[in-house]
């Protein structure tokens, strides 16, 4: 369904204006200027050329001085740029690839992990960005970057940040938050570093960050029992901060990456298994999608404004929820479903088809998210920047494509699995960690591209935010596996 600017219902203010409702009304007025006036307007276009120019300028010429504020996020600037290229179906030439690999390796810290720039302290966030950037441009061999990652030291660096409540500092003397945990888990998963020792208590920590609204907060506060041997109390363990899109994506993706530990006997007895409230999470995530007057963009918190980057942070939670068994039509996970007879089941059937409106989100991104001179943005009239360019494109990708764990793909990978002969390796667990990421496949029968196939972008892996090809390439390398070929459906005639 395409919005037009007539007949849109502004968010009700109940004749009781506050700072929140004033900011909301202002934003709605601005957005309204970006909605086509008539329903006969041509479909919106993804201005790929302009975005490419924006990205090439940043990569080749460099970033203007205002990006000094991101001098401690150099790996991010590069990752956002490279992954934006990948999403736009563009690869780098060998010369630029090699330059990028050398630059990324200059961020590796002598004691393990990657820092925000050469000589900067190691930090979990740039470690994710560096490893993912290497997944895009790197490869095996002496100059490829992958084998130059010091995995042993990285593991020690991770362990040095571990806290008693299962969380991790993002860096020495620094804060705890779930972004860091997500970044650690992606790096550890891709590089075959994930162990029960590393993630002991981490799933419980993630669960404790879920708020009463259903989304997740940045962190939680542990309480310990009094006495000589304080132990972590199950309650109280309050979340610090309200439910937030960025933290919710990071928490949920972490939760999904930790599933192999949940299934593999790490938690016995069963009542000690940590759990999250999935119906509340589904409700919250769906609530974050704005109304028609907001063009279907996502906001990051209750009563805040829509912002293009939440297209990924909030929109990107839905495929993860599906992986946890949430049914698309009721939002209720399979094992939580109340006992109802078939006739009641049918009653639900005509209520909803999907968890969120994929087409409306694309409208927001195409009409409001694109800066006229290239790059994507939070909302008009803001400037484009490297961060928003990637997360708007990732959100667009997630709205266009339906990427799900596939049982068929899983069976292929299992059939090709090469066992590890090292005596101290938990083979089942390692295999499950691998499958947990590698089984995701695009469901090509369920593509939804607003504006037609010229607007198509590449599919993105819901856990890593890399393309599926890049995710598979680096993982197969580090797990010593050969990649079984994909069974492609015959092209349409």
């Amino acid at each position: 369904m395409i919005s037009t600017s007539s007949n849109l219902r502004p968010t009700p203010t109940d004749a009781f204006p506050t700072l929140t409702s004033l900011a909301q009304s202002e934003t709605e007025a601005v957005l309204q200027e970006h909605i086509p006036i008539s329903s006969n307007a041509p479909p919106p276009t993804l201005e790929k050329r302009a975005h490419m120019q924006f990205l090439v300028r940043n990569l080749i010429q460099g970033f203007p001085g205002r990006y000094t504020s991101q001098d401690a996020s150099q790996p991010w600037l590069l990752f956002w740029t490279l992954q934006s290229f990948s999403t736009l179906q563009v690869g780098l030439d060998p010369g630029n690839k090699q330059r990028a690999i050398e630059k990324i390796l200059s961020w590796q810290h002598p004691d393990g992990g990657f820092g925000g720039g050469p000589g900067q302290a190691a930090h979990l966030l740039p470690t994710y960005a560096s490893v993912c950037a290497l997944a895009i441009v790197g490869g095996p061999g002496p100059k490829g970057g992958w084998d130059q990652i010091d995995r042993e030291k990285m593991y020690k660096f991770f362990m040095s940040l571990k806290q008693k409540d299962g969380s991790f500092l993002v860096s020495k003397h620094s804060e705890v938050d779930v972004r860091g945990i997500y970044c650690l888990l992606v790096a550890a998963t891709l590089l075959d570093l994930l162990t029960p020792e590393l993630v002991e208590g981490t799933a419980e920590f993630i669960a404790s960050c879920q708020t009463y609204e259903g989304g997740f907060a940045s962190s939680s506060q542990p309480y310990f029992s009094a006495g000589d041997a304080p132990t972590l109390l199950k309650w109280p363990r309050p979340s610090l901060g309200e439910a937030h899109g960025g933290y919710t994506y990071c928490s949920l993706a972490s939760w999904v990456m930790l599933q192999p530990f949940n299934n593999n006997g790490a938690y016995t007895p069963k009542e000690d298994k940590p759990s999250i409230n999935i119906p509340n999470l589904v409700r919250w995530a769906a609530q974050m999608q704005g109304n028609e007057i907001e063009l279907g963009g996502f906001k990051g918190r209750t009563n805040k404004l829509v912002d293009g980057c939440y297209s990924w942070w909030c929109g990107g939670t839905f495929p993860l929820l599906e992986a946890l068994g949430v049914q698309a039509h009721t939002g209720i996970p399979l094992d939580h479903k109340p006992e109802v007879q078939d006739s009641l089941e049918d009653l639900w059937d005509d209520v909803d088809e999907v968890l969120y409106d994929r087409e409306a989100l694309q409208q927001y991104l195409l009409y409001a998210g694109q800066h006229p001179t290239g790059g994507l943005r939070d909302k008009p009239p803001k400037n484009a920047d490297a961060y928003h360019t990637l997360y708007c494109l990732s959100g667009l990708s997630s709205a266009q494509h339906h990427v799900v764990p596939s049982a068929a793909r899983q069976a292929e990978i299992i059939a090709h699995w090469k066992s590890d002969t090292r005596p101290d390796v938990n083979e089942d667990l390692r295999k499950e960690i691998y499958l947990n990421v590698m089984s995701w496949t695009e469901d090509e029968t369920n593509v939804c591209i607003l504006g037609g196939s010229t607007n198509r972008v590449n599919a993105t892996h819901p856990i890593t935010n890399l393309t599926i090809t890049h995710t598979e390439g680096i993982m197969a390398h580090f797990y010593g596996q050969a990649l079984p070929p994909r069974q492609r459906p015959p092209p349409p005639k």
Binding site: L19, D71, K172, H173, Y223, E242, K304
Partner: protein, 322 residues
């Protein structure tokens, strides 16, 4: 030490007292995606790399790291090194906190300014003045700053002092909600104080607390019914104490139908009615009622729930299905 005076800024390379330090340029290699740094930033970070390499921790490191932080408050390595230097030279915490008062307001959205405060207050062990500082920080344009709210919540639970810290929180959060009843950060803080952090002194009678909170949130819904933050608080509270949603059906129903001008104007604390200006029916109320029916179960109730949700989808909110 302050550099924002508009005077010609002296580079570290021009200063005689820094002549003994060997500045270290950032490795650029064959550059891809470089940042165009200003001369002053490049100069300060070159000297910083030199200092870190030499391992020097001295008074002048505070000057150098302050210069970097003022140009890029997200430079976490400069913050880390500054903290280690403060510890090494046993630097005065009160002076440092005064500087942080300025920097926190200036760079409200930076993780590091709040985390550095946290480290300092952990060392000083004096959390009480912090509450007033936060109140000021939250009184400006940014009343929803994530770092500021979570810092306040950390202070309360980490130091966990009933008299000095927790006792004023309900008043504080009420003031914030009076300023903006739609501020979800404040609603979350209320939940944090009342429900999520154990039982406060004087709040042992949970029935009474539930009654108080119930009246409070309903009153606030009646002021501005189309406010998901307040409805989420109501849901969260009922979930927390495991009271079924149907317990508030009478209240909710007032908001699922158009305004009734013939309704007698009675004061009913349990079920405060919407104001005349309220835009009804209110989406959150309709959704709430559908949930009441769904949870009660049975064919008839499910039908009612489905009917409400269909109405919701077609009339009020085309995008957001349940």
């Amino acid at each position: 030490m302050s550099q924002n005076t508009g005077e010609q800024i002296l580079l570290f390379s021009d200063k005689r007292e820094w002549a003994d330090v060997v500045p270290l340029e950032q490795y650029e290699g064959d550059p891809v995606a470089p940042i165009f740094y200003s001369e002053t930033y490049k100069d300060a970070t070159d000297y910083f790399r030199g200092i870190v390499k030499a391992g020097e921790k001295s008074q002048r490191v505070l000057e150098l790291t302050e210069s970097i932080i003022r140009q890029n408050p997200a430079h976490y390595t400069a913050w880390q090194y500054r903290y280690e230097t403060l510890l090494a030279i046993n630097g005065p915490l009160d002076t440092e906190l005064l500087l942080m008062d300025e920097l926190a307001i200036k760079y409200l959205k930076t993780y590091q300014v709040w985390h550095h405060r946290k480290l300092l207050v952990t060392l000083s062990g004096k959390p009480k003045p912090e509450l007033d500082f936060i109140t000021v920080a939250l009184s400006g344009d940014d009343q929803k700053n994530y770092h500021t709210w979570s810092y306040r919540q950390w202070l309360l639970s980490y130091f966990n002092n009933e008299e000095d810290l927790w006792s004023g929180e309900l008043d504080f959060v009420e003031k914030m909600l009076t300023k903006d009843v739609r501020n979800n950060s404040a609603w979350h803080h209320r939940f944090f104080v009342v429900w999520a952090s154990g039982v406060r002194s004087g709040e042992q009678d949970r029935e009474r607390v539930l009654r108080r909170e119930s009246i409070y949130v309903k009153q606030n819904i009646s002021l501005a019914p189309n406010n998901p933050a307040a409805w989420n608080y109501l849901r969260g509270m009922l979930d927390h104490v495991k009271v079924p949603y149907s317990a508030v059906s009478d209240f909710v129903k007032l908001y699922t139908v158009p305004f009734d001008p013939s309704r007698p104007d009675l004061v009913d604390l349990e079920n405060p009615p919407p104001s005349q200006e309220a835009q009804l029916p209110c989406v959150q109320a309709v959704e709430f009622l559908a949930d009441v029916y769904e949870r009660e179960g049975g064919k008839e109730n499910i039908e009612k729930a489905v009917e409400l949700l269909k109405k919701l989808a077609t009339e009020y909110e085309k995008i957001r299905k349940k």
